[in-house]
């Protein structure tokens, strides 16, 4: 029997909320699938569209950008810029025909270990039926 497809996900987590939130999930020993490799950035506002395209180009099946809730940004307003920027990236990727499920954004606060866990679980669940991402991937 063929092994089940395990999506590769890169998650850009802002240091102060989402990365802290995923730490919280760890501290509370919540379990979630190991498909996500986190990359800690200072602020969701620092996530360049280049990162997202590159992640897909290098073979990510899904990409997550996660930051502080609106109004809670450690850097006051970085996440507002992120919200705008990411919106355009998302629309563009959908426009060229990438499955919308493959690129997600979430707000996860330092206290929301449960939410982080849920976000990852849902993400993995939605990616599995899609199979590997070959559209933007170098030599798939």
């Amino acid at each position: 029997m063929a092994e089940e497809f395990e999506p590769k996900i890169v998650a850009f987590l802002c240091k102060w909320c989402s990365s802290a939130g995923s730490d919280m999930a760890g501290v509370s020993r919540m379990e979630y699938p190991p498909n996500v490799i986190p990359i800690q950035v200072m602020c969701s506002g620092s996530v360049s569209p280049l990162y997202i395209f590159t992640a897909f180009n290098k073979g990510a099946d899904g990409v997550l950008v996660s930051g502080c809730h609106p109004g809670d940004c450690h850097y006051i307003k970085g996440n507002y810029y992120a919200r705008r920027r990411i919106y355009f990236v998302k629309k563009l990727l959908e426009f060229i025909g990438l499955e919308p499920e493959r690129f997600q954004m979430s707000w996860v606060s330092a206290a929301e270990g449960t939410k982080y866990t849920q976000v990852i679980k849902d993400f993995v669940k939605e990616l599995k039926p899609l199979g590997p991402q070959a559209k933007l991937r170098r030599n798939p």
Partner: protein, 648 residues
């Protein structure tokens, strides 16, 4: 040539239990640039740290990666250790394989694979790290305290007594805040003014405190240790040094307006002293009320003033000051009358709020301490106190609990009974929150000794009926409908952030919480610090609190400020944005997005003020040409981390 050492921590079984730490080390030694990889049971222990120190020395490591717990825990530890071995602290990076791996997964092989990727990714990052030195700046050893209520006064005194100069700015003509309006304070029932005025005097006489009343902070620039503030001094048109407090001017002043201090229960003249013990003890001419500063318009006050203290030509002044730390203690206001139409607040003169009732109880108040109805000056025989008026009502009003109302309502009911022995006091409450030293006993005393009737339930409506105030409510314990014909209704209005606090927050680049109170840096661990370093919070500006809490936080904020001011120089993280001039075209987008005004254009190129920059990197994501990047988290580094994450 890169010579990187990788150190994998077991953390007992916390990591080793789910991650094959030996395998992680074996895989990492194969990674280009890695010349040393080992695992150890507790890397953060002294022997663990020594392993790192030795390896750095013996293998001449140029970089270090420690795969262990979250960087929030031991990053400093391992950077210090690297420092001890003569390696620049910023050449040490943490791979979080505990919170973000071993603790959240069960299948060992998968967790191990993930740990390997996380660690490789950290190695790739560290390979492009540059050695950095902390950015250092001198400190202006002077503090600014904004708000002259009990919190502001306490903070100023603590700072001054620690030997630092303090500027205390208060927007109204006198310091004292709301506390000076109170009659007695719970749970001890000692006279509020009696305990506050000595502090007010001490503050005004303190050689290190510069009192600036009737002033407002207009602009704040700079950064921790080096703030520049512009303070607007509004004209009082009265020279406090000449004024001898003869009070002749108020006698001749033809204008009467509602008194702020008495909360409109009485009036005051256009030229006035807010209250007898006001500090500074001087008169203020309220330009908005005064018919005009020209002798032809009125000029009576100037005519009668023998001290020639009244100067119609006084102009607003902008005073510029430099300070090293700022404490914001802007306090609270009560929830607006307009919002409580269902309780007839603002419509019926005998529906009062807590502060107005304080004034009625106060010996120095408009009724000289007798409790009388504002409408007919009769003694109210039945008084209904309504708690949570505007609080704990997410649908219509404020979602939060204003915290102090349970206690002061009990106090009010009690004081009422002390004044009107044959009167009856009813308290409508959702539930009683009396956490605090002697608080619960205090409430019990009100119920048992003073026979205050507590009714569990919400009041639906208050309306006038034959000279009485009909109060409709439901006792949720008995389920009975309740109707009380009261002579007076006192509303425990919700506490709101003081008006103008929001604008001030903008000037100081402070964050606000969802209710508009000033946000602390961390709800548990940094409760008196704001998100802007060097700016601290005290009192009800941060959240509803009672006097002891406000005083405690004020002292806490003062202590934090002292920690800044007592430094020779301040040190700032060097992982800040860096401009690559050959790529920068000077479009200025980074300048626009920077939350800290840390970037400016100079000769058509962006330039970063390293002291202001917090390294958030929003500029680098905005820049279309990668011309501004954050040191040690550059685009190239993230690129390499992405490859590593994806097994590349």
């Amino acid at each position: 040539m890169k010579r990187t050492g990788v150190f994998v921590c077991h953390c007992g079984i916390n990591i080793a239990g789910t991650v094959d730490v030996k395998k992680v080390a074996q895989e990492l030694i194969k990674h280009p640039g890695v010349v040393h990889a080992e695992d150890y049971v507790y890397m953060c222990s002294d022997p663990g740290q020594n392993l790192i120190v030795q390896a750095i020395k013996e293998k001449k490591l140029s970089n270090v990666v420690v795969a262990c717990c979250s960087p929030t825990l031991h990053e400093t530890t391992f950077r210090k250790a690297s420092g001890l071995a003569g390696l620049n602290a910023y050449r040490c990076e943490i791979a979080n394989i505990r919170e973000q791996c071993s603790w959240v997964h069960k299948e060992k092989d998968k967790a191990t694979q993930k740990a390997i990727k996380i660690t490789k990714s950290a190695v790739e990052k560290v390979h492009r790290n540059e050695s950095l030195e902390a950015v250092s700046v001198p400190v202006t050893r002077k503090a600014l305290v904004i708000g002259g209520g009990i919190a502001g006064i306490q903070a100023s005194l603590d700072l001054a007594n620690s030997g630092f100069d303090v500027i205390l700015v208060e927007k109204s003509p006198s310091i004292g805040g709301h506390m000076i309006q109170l009659s007695e304070t719970f749970p001890t029932l000692d006279c509020s003014q009696c305990i506050l005025t000595p502090k007010m005097v001490e503050a005004s006489k303190h050689p290190k405190i510069r009192l600036m009343t009737y002033c407002e902070v207009q602009d704040v620039s700079g950064y921790v240790g080096n703030f520049k503030v512009k303070i607007l001094k509004k004209p009082t048109y009265v020279d406090p040094d000449k004024c001898n407090l003869c009070d002749e001017c108020t006698k001749v002043c033809p204008i009467v307006v509602p008194s702020e201090f008495e909360l409109g229960l009485t009036g005051r003249r256009a030229i006035y002293i807010p209250f007898p013990q006001a500090i500074p003890a001087s008169y203020t001419l309220d330009i908005n009320a005064c018919p005009g500063l020209l002798p032809i318009a009125c000029g009576k006050c100037a005519d009668v003033c023998e001290a020639k203290a009244i100067d119609y030509d006084m102009k607003p002044q902008i005073i510029e000051e430099e300070v090293g730390a700022i404490i914001v203690a802007t306090g609270y206001d009560l929830y607006d009358k307009e919002n409580m139409a269902e309780y007839g607040y603002g419509k019926y003169p005998d529906v009062l709020d807590g502060l107005q009732f304080e004034r009625l109880c106060s010996a120095s108040g408009p009724t000289r301490g007798q409790i009388l109805r504002p409408s007919d000056h009769k003694e109210p025989k039945e008084v209904v106190f309504i708690q949570c008026s505007g609080s704990r009502d997410p649908e219509n009003h404020c979602a939060y609990c204003s915290k102090i109302c349970c206690m002061y309502t009990a106090k009010h009911a009690m004081l009422y009974k002390h004044h009107v022995h044959d009167g009856q006091a009813y308290v409508f409450y959702i539930d009683i929150r009396s956490g605090g030293k002697g608080y619960e006993e205090f409430v019990q005393r009100a119920i048992e000794e003073d026979g205050v009737v507590y009714l569990r339930g919400k009041v639906s409506k208050v309306f006038e009926d034959k000279g009485k105030l009909k109060v409709w409510g439901v006792d949720t314990l008995t389920g009975k409908h309740i109707e009380i014909a009261a002579d007076m209704v006192v509303l425990a209005q919700a506490m709101r952030p003081a008006k103008g606090a929001q604008e001030l927050a903008k000037k100081l680049k402070l964050a606000l919480d969802k209710d508009g109170f000033l946000a602390e840096a961390h709800p548990k661990l940094r409760p008196v610090e704001s998100v802007t370093s060097g700016v601290f919070l005290a009192g009800a500006a941060q959240a509803p609190k009672d006097i002891p809490e406000a005083v405690a936080q004020a002292s806490g904020a003062a202590a934090k400020a002292v920690a800044v001011l007592s430094q020779e120089r301040l040190y700032h993280s060097p992982t800040v944005a860096k401009v690559i001039p050959t790529l920068c075209t000077g479009c200025g987008m980074c300048v626009q997005v920077c939350p800290y005004d840390a970037i400016a254009l100079k000769d058509d190129k962006a330039e970063v003020n390293e002291v202001l920059c917090e390294g958030c990197g929003t500029c680098s994501a905005t820049c279309l040409r990668a011309a501004i990047q954050v040191k040690n988290l550059t685009l190239s580094q993230v690129h390499d981390m992405i490859s590593a994450c994806l097994g590349g």
